[in-house]
């Protein structure tokens, strides 16, 4: 569904991604793992059009999307829930969700909002509250809920469990599993390596802007390099 070939990208004079290849098949969870600064977020930004690729190709559903502006990519159903949430603090929870359907699925807005509220009852209680006053965990729920409002075909989640309490992390992974069970393709960027490997079909390890390891999640888990560097075994 998503095919990335030879992707290079960076900021100014620095190159961050040095030839990345990745595919996310329909209906699968693909985990992207890697240390801080490896380039995971840059990869997501390049996929959604916020960082212009310098070389390589990105294909979504058979259509080239590299070089397209972010709204066009979102419109195609490639929805990115970014690191740091990036919710609209000066808008209410309901308005944030409304804007999730700004470019896609506008007609189904009411139905999708009910579904998001069913998934996150906390958001329903706080529908009229300004998003900036939500707790960190609630803001993460809102960011995901806003993404779901667009009826994504592929959902990119950049560190959804960052800053959540252990209990909420569990809930977050349970939610991702549920979305997957409903057939959604997910690209999951995570620091929680063990839990991500449990959940994902495939995993890839990014180091210094290139993938050094990748394959079925079980194989990646068994790899000695991964165990040493990321699981501390």
């Amino acid at each position: 569904m998503l095919e990335i070939r030879g992707l290079e990208a960076g900021y100014g004079l620095t190159t961050v991604l040095r030839g990345v290849d990745l595919s996310v098949p329909a209906g699968r969870i693909v985990a992207v793992l890697g240390a801080n600064g490896a380039g995971k977020t840059t990869l997501n930004m390049a996929i959604s059009g916020l960082v212009k690729p310098r070389a390589g190709s990105i294909t979504f559903d058979g259509r080239r999307i590299d070089g397209l502006p972010p709204p066009a990519i979102a419109e195609a159903g490639l929805v990115h829930v970014p690191e740091g949430r990036k919710i609209f603090p000066n808008l209410t929870v309901r308005e944030n969700l409304d804007l999730g359907a700004y470019r896609r699925a506008r007609g189904n807005r009411a139905r999708n909002m009910d579904r998001v509220f069913a998934t996150f009852p906390r958001l329903k209680e706080r529908a009229r509250q300004f998003a900036g006053t939500l707790s960190g965990g609630e803001q993460q729920m809102l960011a995901i809920g806003r993404g779901l409002m667009a009826e994504p075909r592929l959902l990119i989640l950049d560190e959804p469990s960052l800053g959540l309490s252990p209990l909420l992390v569990e809930e977050m992974f349970a939610l991702i599993r549920r979305l997957h069970d409903e057939g959604l393709a997910i690209m999951l960027v995570e620091q929680n390596v063990a839990q991500s490997l449990d959940l994902a079909d495939e995993a890839h390890v990014l180091e210094n802007g290139a993938f050094v390891l990748g394959g079925a999640a079980a194989d990646v888990r068994a790899d000695p390099h991964l165990q040493r560097a990321y699981l501390g075994l």
Binding site: L50, P82, K86, L91, Y102
Partner: protein, 291 residues
């Protein structure tokens, strides 16, 4: 300094009326600042251009400024949209210091264009209601200023509805605080910037039509109003729409009262005292977010 109370009341009321239109000028400035995070130095020149447009509409086409206000707002919306989309946006390449220079350059071009077309004469239009007054209890209120007050109020309500009820309005507010998140939900940020700039210039066009019956036009007239508008924006809080309107009313009253007590030529001193006082005591303004 014993003025009879009805004179003071009249000064306060007329100050409120004038201040509303000042607030309208400030509204465009504060909106653009709040969303694009730039200070638009072309604001004054665009106001001048709008006043000349209303002047031409009256003198060449015989259209009353109040009738011309809405069509001019539409015209200036398109103009502002185009200027941001085609000139300021591309020329600035995302760097704020470039934007300052671009808007400054734009103001020089527009001012000189006005100077070339209309010479440096001060002009005014002749409308039958220019000197008309309305009795309000013991006070006499200027009819053009009363219209200006009502129209500003209407613009304020329209803008409030736009910002809270429409997808575009929500997108504007979203872009103001979170550009990345906005782009990711599919908001075209460059388009929203241009729309915001266009709304700001449309406010100027309406303000111009409201000011024309009681003020002279000259190639630099906009700057005088924008200086006042800057004070209003600082007083109301940078980026606050409500602050601009309330600040406008306050400044209008201050100007009117200091004109009464200090004489017309010193009337603006009160405004600049306020400016300095706000910066000293409450730099975030009345409605500004705390830094």
């Amino acid at each position: 300094m014993g003025f009879p109370p009805e004179i003071i009341l009249e000064a306060v009321l007329n100050g409120l009326l004038t201040g509303a239109v000042y607030g309208l000028v400030a509204l465009g400035l504060t909106l653009v600042y709040g969303v694009l995070h730039i200070i638009n130095f072309a604001h004054g020149a665009l106001l001048t251009a709008a006043m000349y447009a209303a002047y031409v509409a009256r003198t060449a086409l015989g259209i009353d400024p109040y009738v011309a206000a809405l069509p001019l707002a539409g015209l200036f919306f398109v103009l502002g949209y185009g200027v941001q989309r085609l000139v300021i946006g591309p020329a600035s390449q995302g760097k704020d210091e470039n934007i300052l220079l671009v808007t400054l350059g734009l103001s020089i071009i527009v001012e000189n264009l006005m100077l070339a077309i209309f010479r440096s004469d001060t002009r005014s239009i002749d409308v039958p209601y220019a000197m008309e007054v309305v009795e309000f209890g013991p006070a006499l209120l200027s009819w053009p200023r009363l219209v200006g007050f009502g129209a500003t109020l209407a613009v304020g309500v329209a803008l409030f509805l736009l910002m809270t009820r429409t997808a575009t309005g929500k997108a504007i507010r979203a872009v103001a605080k979170e550009r990345t998140g906005a782009a990711l939900v599919g908001i075209d940020v460059a388009h929203i910037y241009a729309v915001t700039f266009g709304i700001g210039t449309a406010c100027l066009a309406i303000a111009a039509a409201l000011l024309l019956p009681s003020f002279y036009v000259s190639p630099r007239v906009g700057n005088a109003f924008v200086l006042v508008a800057f004070t209003i924006v600082v007083l109301g809080g940078m980026g606050s729409v409500v602050g601009a309107l309330v600040g406008g009313l306050v400044i209008g009253v201050v100007e009117s009262l200091s004109g009464l007590y200090l004489g017309d030529s010193l009337g603006q001193i009160g405004i600049f005292l306020i400016f300095i006082l706000v910066l000293l005591v409450r730099p975030t303004g009345l409605f500004g977010a705390r830094a």
